[in-house]
Amino acid sequence: MSNSNLELNKLTNEKYKKMVEKASPASPFIKNIINAFIFGGLFCILAQIFNDMITQFSIMRGGEPLTVDAASGYTTIFMVALGAILTMFNVYDKIGKYAGAGSIVPITGFANSIVSPAMEFKSEGHILGVGVQMFVVAGPVLVFGTSAAILLGIVYYIIGLM
């Protein structure tokens, strides 16, 4: 035992670990996944509605209908802006409390993870605060996301050579 505590002579690390596990309630697992499913689905429905609307709008204007790629691009921009605006008005954290992964995983959550530290660290100035801290949450996603993409690209290239 690492502690030299004569007064707690019946308590060991292993025993205490079991006591803590028993005493501490776990997160409501089932409720959390159902909520995440519903909220995540709602974000997707919202994006789909926007996607369909913008495609329809391009047809109504009489021009060439938007390609699938272009419509997806506009939809992504819309969802990122939505996440940022909801964060700005202190709404996104309240959604996140119920939605859990349902509002973290969609791209609105990515916007939230960048805008929220930017807001929080504004008090340290635009460079040392906003600039330095902006990616404090999303940073790992960007680092490992781009790294994985590059690695996969190399693998893809080598396979193409064979």
């Binding site: 690492s2 505590n5 308590l11 670990k17 501490s24 776990a26 954290d93 008090s123």
Partner: protein
């Protein structure tokens, strides 16, 4: 003559009187079960630009309140003992720079109220100091920013997580005046039971609280029922249960309702969504100065053992996955 008793306790024989007390909280604490005991309520921003400045203002205003309501001036204060949760005790420094009085900055995480009171009592007991201010503060927003994540980040909180109290509380210890006296202080040691979950600080601190209480009783030869109330710092709902269980296993039993916890008392978890309860230096500070000392003043209780608990962790230690260390200091306060 005061002296060491047993292993970790010092019995104070000179009269060390809690001459005055003051606290300021934010609206959330005011809305809690102890709301009526907090007479000054301020907005979380307290008309400041940053959370850190707001926390300083909570402390600065509490200090002013303490001194002016006691009819003394800054010059009568011999020493200020204070600390907070922010890096390098930033809130304390900026809050008390205007006082022009000697300061000892303390860091004991959420145990700071008991730590400052213990040292203050010894300074007054030593005879060299007459008016010593012991205080601390915490702020939900500045603590979240430093220890967890941005406020607007949409994440869920664990059921065992605690809500940092926004507020500041302090007392003036003196050899003169009216009020309850400090009779014993038991300084705690650091315990490590390998709890690394920063969302379960109550579990990290519970063994320390139990250890300090048991040591105190052993050192002073007292039984738990000697005290009308034993109150631990901010263990929260589950931490308090753990502490009680540890003590039961070691053979220390309480009479029903004689053992309470500041973190559990200050909020109503069902209405206020505070999960396991309150935390932060301010938690035990405002519960002591607002509620517990009020009960002592009204003679509803006459013997109190106040045991503030601290989870010694930093953002770096949490990221490195090392255990959260616990510490607890006990102060025996009695109406004589």
């Amino acid at each position: 003559m005061s002296g060491k008793v047993g292993n970790q306790t010092i019995a104070i024989t000179r009269k060390v009187i809690i001459r005055n007390r003051a606290c300021i909280v934010s609206k959330k604490e005011k809305a809690g079960p102890l709301g009526e005991f907090f007479d000054q309520v301020e907005d979380e921003k307290f008309e400041e630009e940053t959370w850190e400045k707001a926390e300083s203002k909570f402390m600065k205003s509490t200090y002013s309140k303490l001194v002016t309501s006691c009819n003394i001036t800054d010059q009568d204060v011999d020493c200020i003992l204070s600390g907070d949760l922010l890096n390098q005790c930033m809130a304390t420094g900026f809050a008390l720079k205007h006082t022009g009085r000697p300061i000892i900055g303390l860091y004991g995480a959420c145990s700071t109220m008991a730590e400052s009171t213990a040292i203050g009592a010894l300074l007054v007991d030593g005879g060299g100091f007459n008016n010593v201010v012991c205080m601390t503060s915490s702020h939900y927003c500045s603590a979240e920013k430093q220890f967890r994540g941005p406020l607007e980040l949409g994440t869920q909180r664990a059921p065992t997580s605690q809500w940092t109290v926004t507020g500041s509380g302090g007392i003036i210890l003196s050899s003169e005046g009216d009020g309850p006296v400090i009779t014993n202080v038991t300084l705690g040691k650091i315990l490590d039971f390998n709890i690394a979950d920063s969302n379960n600080m109550g579990a990290a601190m519970a063994p320390s609280a139990a250890s300090t209480i048991i040591t105190h009783l052993k050192d002073t030869g007292r039984v738990p029922d000697y005290y009308d109330l034993i109150v631990t710092g901010d263990l929260g709902i589950y931490g308090r249960q753990l502490c009680e269980k540890i003590m039961q296993e070691e053979g220390v039993h309480f009479t029903q309702n004689r053992y309470k916890d500041c973190g559990e008392l200050i909020f109503d978890p069902l209405v206020q969504d505070t999960h396991a309860g309150g935390s932060g230096c301010g938690c035990s500070a405002v519960v002591l100065t607002g509620y517990l000392l009020d009960m002592m003043q009204k003679k509803q209780i006459n013997r109190l053992l106040f045991v503030a608990t601290g989870a010694l962790m930093s953002p770096t230690s949490v990221k490195q996955g090392v255990p959260i260390l616990g510490v607890a200091h006990a102060i025996a306060i009695e109406n004589v």
